[in-house]
Symmetry: none
Subunit: 195 residues, 4 copies
DNA sequence: GATGAATGAGGGTTCATTCAT
DNA sequence: CATGAATGAACCCTCATTCAT
């Protein structure tokens, strides 16, 4: 990658990071290109040098988030930890990303009504990958006896629900630190798997 | 209430029910008054006979949901069941409302950026009431020894997270029936409270 | 006229009187049929029993005002007073109507852009009649030597301007009573005619 | 001021000048943003680059008019002419502005029901300034014996009424030139002050 | 590359008017 | 006669997108 391309890439990531924050706060339709530009001290028109259109920008936001998340979970899945440890790591990582790295997992609930063409499939496939990884860990645990009496799909949905919801109420500097939450959620959620 | 007023009220509720569905799917800014009207075979302008403006309609949607939910939970709180039974009832009721009655709990994440004036306070206060009821049940359980080693606030948030998330993935007629989900969630979530 | 027709006529006049007040305050486009109805404790739809449409209502307002004014000025023109006395009477009458009887002379500045069809001509012709009467009085005064060195048209426009403007600033119960204004305007305006 | 800012300012003034004409003819509520835009060969949306909303545009129209008028009258007030000469100048200037420069004095009769927030006060204060200047000239004339037996406030209202009304009937190219009107109004109106 | 001007489609809202009851 | 529901056209305003400079 040439120096120029590197700078371009760097700029794109800055924009994405900034945009993601606003998009999370105000939602897709509640956020204007002007607001995104303003926060970056750019003009509206300049955004179009970096992204084809609003959907493209949103898609890139989504992609970067899912890239990071999937990289993390892959690493965990392929590690040598016990199944229980893997689930703990997944939970901690998920909470860390959403509270500390401002990674937004629930930017868009319904890819179908937001994206068009290939973007839909890409997003859906990246999401499925994340879900699949969790399911694999759970299945692994069932196989080796760590997890008992569970419905894999429902447990995954229950866990992800409580994790994704955190961003609705988490306040940096609030009564509960990210650490506190992690400890508590890890303990309680793993408990639902181990019987 | 006169016959006319009854019909008015009935119509309002029809609109609210219909609007809530679309609002849930597409979000506040993603839903147009025209779409809401079209689904009811009305014209856009007619909606304004029943609601002052879009915010008013959204507020009424919210209110009706919270009225129902709060009525239900009050009933449970004041019943003679054991603490464990009460939590089970709350979970079952919450899931029932969101999957069967199409009651949407997470219409708006940030009342402050959606509502104006008094509406903000009303919504916030109704939400707090619901949260408070759950906290009371949890506290009761702690006091009488049913629940152990729990952080009331974090447990409440964890449980509500997994419950509210259900609407993101629940499909009527899908693999898991509302009943299945209830049974599983009741068992697993109560388990996190009883140690 | 039958009793029924009399009642109808009476009702129409009530509406007109009430409507004229609001129309003066808020202007044609600033006043809604609903507001007019509300002030009369009627519903919007009922107005359409009495008037074909908004323009019709506005036209009737205009007509009633001009009927009264023209009746008054005809009376003065045909009286046996001196020319000076006649002008004094016209000024007093005009001020009286606009301050006491709430008769609005300047409801519509440009009949052409407000009315359609025959209504335009009717309004224009009634206005011309009023102007003509004043011109006749002025001409009479010139002929009999009461008024000197005047341009009839310009004097008429000057006088009517200062009179019609009164409604822009007159406040019942304010510093200047209707009487005060009349006395002062009569004195000063007649002075411009008599040299 | 940069070249760019100059062009912006120039464009704004063009719009204001054009809008003022239509606003005078049709009134605030009778004029649409589309009409204003069309006359300038723009599209509706483009107007919003220059003005925040319709009220803002109207306010700027008003402001530019009152700025000009107040500058003129201040100049006259502070000049070395006699009181009589000053009043003559005021009248001539007022007529000149309204007939030749298309400056509209009576765009809005009731600032309170048209403007909101600070705009109300700004307009009211600018209007008061103009009225005050006239009152000062009249008072000056009373003090030095040029004007006799006058009620300053009522004389000011009478004069301004006849002057503001001119725009209701003046037709460029009509029977009376702006000059004719000025000469006649100066003579007759000053006469009402000097006894 | 960056900017600001311009556009045009679309959304929320108002309101005169109609009409069934 | 009166009412209130319903309509649809028109209006203000926003905003994603384009483009000349």
């Amino acid at each position: 990658m040439s120096l120029r391309e590197q700078k371009l890439q760097k700029k794109k990531e800055d924009i994405i990071r900034s945009a993601a924050t606003i998009l999370q706060e105000k939602g897709l339709h509640g956020t204007t290109m002007e607001e995104i530009a303003a926060q970056l001290l750019m003009t509206k028109g300049s955004l179009y040098h970096y992204f084809k259109n609003k959907e493209d920008l949103l898609f890139q936001c989504h992609k970067i988030i899912l890239d990071i998340s999937n990289e993390k979970i892959t690493e965990i899945l392929e590690s040598n930890q016990s199944s229980i440890h893997k689930m703990e790591s997944v939970i901690r990582s998920h909470i860390h990303l959403s509270t500390e790295e401002n990674v937004i997992f629930s930017l868009i609930d319904k890819p179908e009504s937001t994206f068009s063409g290939q973007n839909i499939e890409k997003v859906v496939s990246q999401r499925s990958y994340y879900a699949n990884c969790i399911d694999k860990i759970l299945q692994e645990g069932v196989n080796n006896g760590s997890f008992k009496n569970i419905n894999i799909k429902l447990s995954r949905l229950m866990i992800l629900g409580s994790l994704n919801w955190i961003q609705q109420w988490y306040q940096p500097g609030g009564a509960n630190t990210s650490e506190d939450i992690s400890d508590y959620f890890v303990q309680k959620l793993v408990q639902t798997l181990t019987d």
